[in-house]
């Protein structure tokens, strides 16, 4: 994938906001002193009169966005995943989730690929936190094309949405012309019969690379991009489990509470199937270059191949 164009999905977020902002005057943006990093600065440059910096005060930002939404506006509130899902969890739960308000949370710098900033900023718990809130849509895009389509879908959907974007550049593999995005629908990127690999975020590209390697070893891997973690595309997961009989989940998140557990929860109740979860194993990250960290924590095509080989008894 060396020659493939790489774009960080936070860039996609900023670009999508700017594009949507031109179409919809009711779209406003809140940020918490991170407009340069979250890329809402792209929107700010185009629409300074409706970009509201809240300073380093995420709790107030989230609740203020909730209040603004009751007036009929569609606020997108942004900061790092750690400070939206994490610090402002209770504001998201009580001021957005409980009244089911139309606020979109654009959380960037999710996962371990935050890199050099280290564990304090590497949020690997956001899917778990946000999934636990009734009525919250939780999503994480795999590339630029999907990220921009997701932001548009989030605007059009009425209700609370949490979107996690990444800091690091990721390969763009979707074809913009033919791609469509639907909240709650997974996407089969590669057919296979021996093992189903269900991934999201930057792990989708890794899963695709792993499937290619596995094919050379005689293992037929299905690859599913599960950009929406909640509501989960149950039909697709069940279908994959029935077809392959083995499921591997891959996410740049703790193995606790994220996509892996969502898939396990579904399968254990409706179609018991052996599952291997690839993610961060109940530990904190640390500083280092994103690529090296991802390899170290097993968030790589190589690790997926190892797990799949072992899983399939090869």
């Amino acid at each position: 994938m060396a020659d493939v164009k790489k774009i960080a999905t936070r860039e996609s977020y900023g670009n999508a906001l700017k594009e949507l902002g031109a179409e919809h005057a009711d779209l406003i943006v809140f940020d918490a002193d991170l407009a340069g990093a979250t890329k809402t600065g792209t929107f700010k440059k185009a629409f300074p009169e409706r970009h509201f910096d809240c300073g380093i005060a995420e709790s107030n930002m989230i609740a203020a966005a909730a209040g603004a939404s009751t007036m009929g506006l569609v606020p997108f509130a942004s900061s790092f995943a750690m400070f939206t899902a994490g610090r402002a969890f209770e504001q998201v739960r009580n001021s957005i989730g409980y009244p089911h308000l139309n606020v979109k949370i654009g959380a960037t710098h999710g996962g371990i690929s935050v890199g050099e900033d280290g564990a304090s900023h590497q949020c690997c718990e956001d899917f778990a936190l946000m999934r636990s809130i009734p009525g919250m849509v939780v999503m994480s895009p795999a590339d630029d094309v999907e990220a921009r389509a997701m932001v548009r879908a989030a605007y059009e959907y009425v209700g609370p949405v949490y979107m996690r974007f990444g800091r690091a550049g990721v390969p763009v593999f979707h074809d913009e012309a033919s791609y469509t995005f639907q909240i709650g629908k997974g996407e089969v990127l590669r057919e296979g019969t021996d093992v189903a690999i269900i991934a999201n975020g930057l792990m989708v590209a890794e899963a695709l690379a792993a499937a290619e390697t596995l094919a050379g070893m005689g293992i037929s891997a299905q690859v599913i991009n599960m950009a929406t973690i909640k509501p989960l595309d149950e039909e697709l997961v069940l279908q994959a489990a029935k077809t392959c009989g083995k499921v591997i989940t891959c996410e740049e998140h703790s193995v606790i509470g994220g996509l892996g557990e969502a898939v396990c929860g579904l399968l254990s109740e409706k179609c018991p199937t052996p599952v291997r979860r690839i993610g961060v194993n109940d530990e904190f990250g640390h500083s280092g270059p994103a690529g090296a960290l991802l390899k170290q924590f097993g968030l790589s095509a190589e690790h997926i191949v190892e797990v799949a080989k072992d899983f399939c008894g090869k």
Partner: protein
């Protein structure tokens, strides 16, 4: 304020207090102390200050009220019922399964409630967000929010105050119910928020200090607040927790406790006597 207008407000406030006590007694739980300290304020807002239409609770251009100290919902509900948002009998369903009157305000269930609150510190932020949105939309509606003096111990409150001043939210009016007591005792013993007016001034607010049981002082302060331009306004009201029921007054123990049947009867008799006195004025 004319004498008859003042008399009407005083009578309505007695009824709001009775409604709050009835609800808490029927629920065998709830927060009477702060409901009573804020009863005159609820009355003034819903019968004098707010631009509202009880027949059209979701009217887009209405003024908003956010009860940031959401636990005093029984007082708010009593005022809303008296104002005609829903039948007064509903007050007896407070906190029961199936009731639209939750333990803390729910905007999706109760007509007239503009924001779901209960977790202290968040309501004021949502009110600030509403005021900001109204400005962006070019609406001339105003946003009011009531906080407890204990509530302002929450850090988020001061984030919201900074935000309100930074964005020049002169359509926002913050009201502090300074009844001096919180669950664990006197606010200055638990974690002093004092001096409140000075802190608010330092945060850029135009501050008015009033007796929260005096409608004439309320009128002056709210009229001036409405005329304040360029900065948010704050009304710090000195109040008596449990005001109107002798054995609840200035007792932290009545923060979140329901009266038993005997206490209920005494409370209602006292409030009825006050109402009769006002009506005989």
């Amino acid at each position: 304020m004319t004498t008859s207008e003042k008399k009407q407000l005083m009578a309505a406030a007695c009824k709001v207090r009775m409604g709050a006590i009835k609800g808490v007694h029927a629920a065998k739980a709830g927060h009477p102390g702060g409901s009573l300290s804020a009863a005159d304020l609820f009355t003034y807002l819903y019968f004098k200050e707010l631009r509202i239409d009880p027949k059209n609770p979701k009217w887009e251009d209405r003024d908003r009220f956010v009860l940031s100290k959401g636990h005093t919902a029984p007082g708010l509900y009593a005022a809303l019922a008296l104002r005609g948002y829903f039948p007064e009998e509903d007050l007896l369903t407070l906190r029961q399964i199936g009731s639209h009157l939750q333990g803390h305000p729910n905007m999706n269930l109760t007509p007239g409630v503009d924001m779901s609150t209960g977790s202290l510190g968040q309501g004021v932020s949502t009110a600030a967000g509403m005021a900001l949105a109204a400005k962006y939309q070019g609406k001339d509606c105003r946003v009011y929010t009531l906080l407890g003096d204990g509530e302002i111990q929450e850090g988020e409150v001061w984030e919201a105050f900074m935000f309100a001043h930074h964005y020049k939210l002169d359509n926002l009016c913050v009201i502090i119910d300074n009844n001096g007591l919180q669950i664990d005792g006197r606010v200055e013993d638990v974690m002093s928020p004092y001096p409140i007016p000075e802190k608010l001034r330092a945060f850029g607010f135009q501050v008015y200090e009033i007796d929260g049981h005096d409608f004439e002082q309320m009128e002056t302060a709210f009229n001036q607040a409405r005329e304040t331009k360029g900065v948010p306004s704050a009304i710090v009201m000195k109040t008596v927790k449990g005001k109107g029921v002798s054995f609840m007054e200035n007792q932290a123990g009545w923060h979140g406790k329901a009266p038993n049947d005997e206490e209920f009867e005494i409370a209602m008799n006292e409030l009825s006597a006050q109402l009769a006195e006002v009506e005989g004025m």
